[in-house]
């Protein structure tokens, strides 16, 4: 009788188990890909997407994109550096970016922006109210400005608008 149990358990062991399912298992480093254009070329803008935890996705606009400030006068000034990046950001996602589900939570328009770098970090001044911006919109601003001004998106950024100041804060991407 005992022998029969033993045989039974052997048979169960032998036949009852093949490959079993598992839970989700962490498996090391992510993959790192090359992003065109190579090097430091191009302007990184951050738009909102629902497909990542940080809710922000970077896009790279070609370096030769021409951006012009919309002045009060007839003189049109070609923007460079951070203001240009911010102008592109406020310009919203392009068609292909929208196709991928990217959007902006910033108000559309062409606010006037000035940027200066001081020991406390990057200081951005806009001529629009900023305290009503959503968290994602603030991050769009901060990440894009930090990246554009210092090539380091983690730099501290303070944004002051017509109704107050945001930050200092960091990009969380």
């Amino acid at each position: 009788m005992r022998g029969r149990y033993a045989l039974l358990s052997v048979l169960l062991l032998a036949t009852g188990c093949g490959i079993r399912p598992t839970g989700v298992v962490e498996a090391g480093e992510p993959a790192t890909v090359e992003v065109a254009p190579a090097g430091q070329l191009g302007t990184l803008l951050y738009f909102v997407s629902s497909s990542t935890a940080s809710r922000l996705l970077p896009v790279i606009r070609p370096a030769d994109t021409e951006v012009y400030a919309v002045g009060s006068g007839s003189e049109t000034e070609r923007l460079k550096g951070t203001p240009a990046a911010l102008a592109l950001l406020f310009g919203g996602p392009s068609r292909s970016e929208r196709d991928a589900g990217l959007r902006s939570e910033l108000p559309s328009g062409r606010p006037k922006a000035s940027v200066e770098l001081n020991p406390q970090g990057v200081k951005v001044t806009l001529d629009i109210p900023v305290t009503g911006l959503s968290r994602a919109a603030r991050q769009q601003l901060i990440c894009t400005a930090a990246r554009a001004r210092t090539a380091d998106r983690t730099e501290t950024v303070t944004v002051s608008g017509t109704d107050g100041v945001i930050g200092p804060d960091h990009c969380t991407v």
Partner: protein, 473 residues
């Protein structure tokens, strides 16, 4: 279980226990080995798949944002790069979806894996069994670095590959374990049998020896091997049987001495009796001329000499039975005639009624049969009462009945009626018989291979029944 154990022999139980242990060992070993080997196989497959997938993805270049065409191209390139792995690649970017197959999304990839891959900056994998088929799903987020640390591109890639090769390997391992375990069990049977044999051989020897003792082969001994408990038992057995043999031999010698003594005494008595018996006639004839006292004494001596001669003769006869020196001289006779001659020879024809059918023939020793009939009839005439009837019937067995019309035999006496010198009444009054008549009759019947028994008739009186085989012996 107790009943189960009691019904099976020691050998079966020993072998079963042995096999049980062997089976448990084999099963445990097989199970542990199997588990280790299985996880090793899968580990290896998973790790290499993850590493390879990460490398392949790392070799890709994308532009942000990624459009659906580029997404599709990445999938196809990765699927090709997978080579022999046979994985299917799925990609997600924002709300775009693409795959290397014609379906843009996989049913195998779980929501858990997708969440883990999208929300973390590390690779993940998951084994999924769907419809009985095992799959390995690997999720890999694609990051990029612009000198300020890695950040997600938003591109997430999944590889889905069947684990059929691994499954086959695992199955092969199970088969091997099973195929190995059964021969191992069979092989375990050999030492089991040997062990059982080594334990059971002394037991069997002991049983055989005990049976030998039971048959009266008192010289039976067991060879003592080793010094375990069974050897102790064998030693004790030998000791006991030696003692038993000594006792029995002593008893036999004593009995032999007693018999020889009786035989020797009768022999020695016979020679003087031969002289005395020859002259009793002289005493009887001349007693009348003597003084009355002397005459009475002389007649007493004469009479007692005759009885003494009968007694000695009976003792001699019994001694021969005891010494197994009694021979059968068989002859085929007519039973009725034989019985009639016995009665005539003793002059009992007038006192005994007979029922002797003609034509009953039997092979027997006439002299011994004569003694049987004479002793039974003589006993009936002496201790029972007339009429005495002798009845014979044939058939498969010859049946002889001697009935008397006396008071019958006391129930207390009946079991001892054929004992030597057994007297029915305690006073031991002497009668004409030697006290050996019925014992001699019984011995003679036994010598013929027959039986004799005594009983009381319902109507009163005793009946002695002799049954003898009639054919050749």
């Amino acid at each position: 279980m107790k009943l189960f154990a009691a019904r099976l022999g020691l050998r079966t139980r020993l072998i079963a226990a042995f096999l049980f242990v062997a089976a448990v060992s084999a099963a445990t070993t097989a199970a542990l080995t199997y588990r280790e080997a299985r996880s090793a196989i899968l580990q290896q497959a998973q790790d290499s798949a993850v590493v390879q997938f990460r490398d392949r993805v790392g070799a890709q270049a994308v532009s942000l944002p990624i459009d659906s065409e580029q997404l599709r191209r990445v999938c196809l390139q990765l699927a090709r790069a997978g080579g022999g792995r046979g994985w299917t690649v799925f990609a997600e970017y924002g709300k775009l979806r693409a795959s290397s197959s014609d379906r843009s999304s996989s049913g195998v990839i779980t929501a858990g894996l997708r969440a883990a891959t999208r929300d973390n900056t590390h690779g993940s994998f998951q084994r999924v069994v769907q419809d009985g088929r095992p799959w390995l799903t690997v999720g890999m987020p694609a990051l990029f670095d612009r000198g300020d640390g890695r950040q997600p591109t938003g591109l997430v890639l999944y590889a889905v590959m069947p684990l059929s090769t691994e499954e086959a390997n695992v199955d092969a391992m199970v088969t091997a374990a099973r195929d190995g375990a059964l021969p191992a069990l069979l092989a375990a049977l050999v030492p089991a049998l040997l062990a059982a044999r080594s334990v059971l051989r002394p037991v069997r020897d002991l049983r055989r020896a005990a049976a030998g003792i039971g048959r009266g082969e008192l010289h039976t001994r067991i060879t003592v091997r080793g010094n375990d408990e069974l050897a102790d038992l064998a030693w004790t057995f030998n000791e006991s049987s030696t003692k038993l043999q000594e006792s029995v031999e002593e008893l036999r010698r004593a009995e032999e001495r007693a018999r020889r003594f009786a035989s020797d005494v009768s022999h020695e008595l016979r020679t003087p009796l031969a002289g005395m018996l020859a002259v009793t006639e002289v005493l009887d004839e001349d007693a009348g001329e003597l003084r009355p006292d002397t005459a009475a004494a002389v007649r007493l001596i004469s009479a007692e000499t005759g009885k003494l001669a009968t007694l000695v003769e009976d003792l001699m006869e019994i001694s021969r039975f005891d010494a197994r020196a009694a021979d059968l001289h068989l002859d085929e006779v007519d039973v009725a005639e034989t019985v009639r001659k016995t009665l005539q020879g003793r002059r009992w024809e007038g006192r005994v009624a007979t029922e002797l059918p003609d034509g009953v023939r039997a092979v027997l020793d006439p002299r011994r049969f004569d003694v049987v009939v004479a002793n039974l009839v003589g006993n009936a005439l002496r201790h029972g009462a007339e009429p005495v009837t002798v009845r014979v019937s044939g058939g498969d067995r010859l049946v002889l009945e001697v009935e008397d019309s006396g008071p019958g035999i006391d129930d207390a006496v009946l079991p001892h009626i054929f004992d030597r010198f057994y007297k029915a009444d305690a006073a031991r009054t002497r009668s004409a018989g030697s006290g050996l008549g019925l014992a001699i009759a019984q011995e003679n019947v036994r010598l013929h291979g027959g039986t004799v028994r005594a009983a009381n008739r319902p109507v009163g009186g005793a009946v002695f029944t002799v049954e003898l085989p009639t054919g050749e012996r």
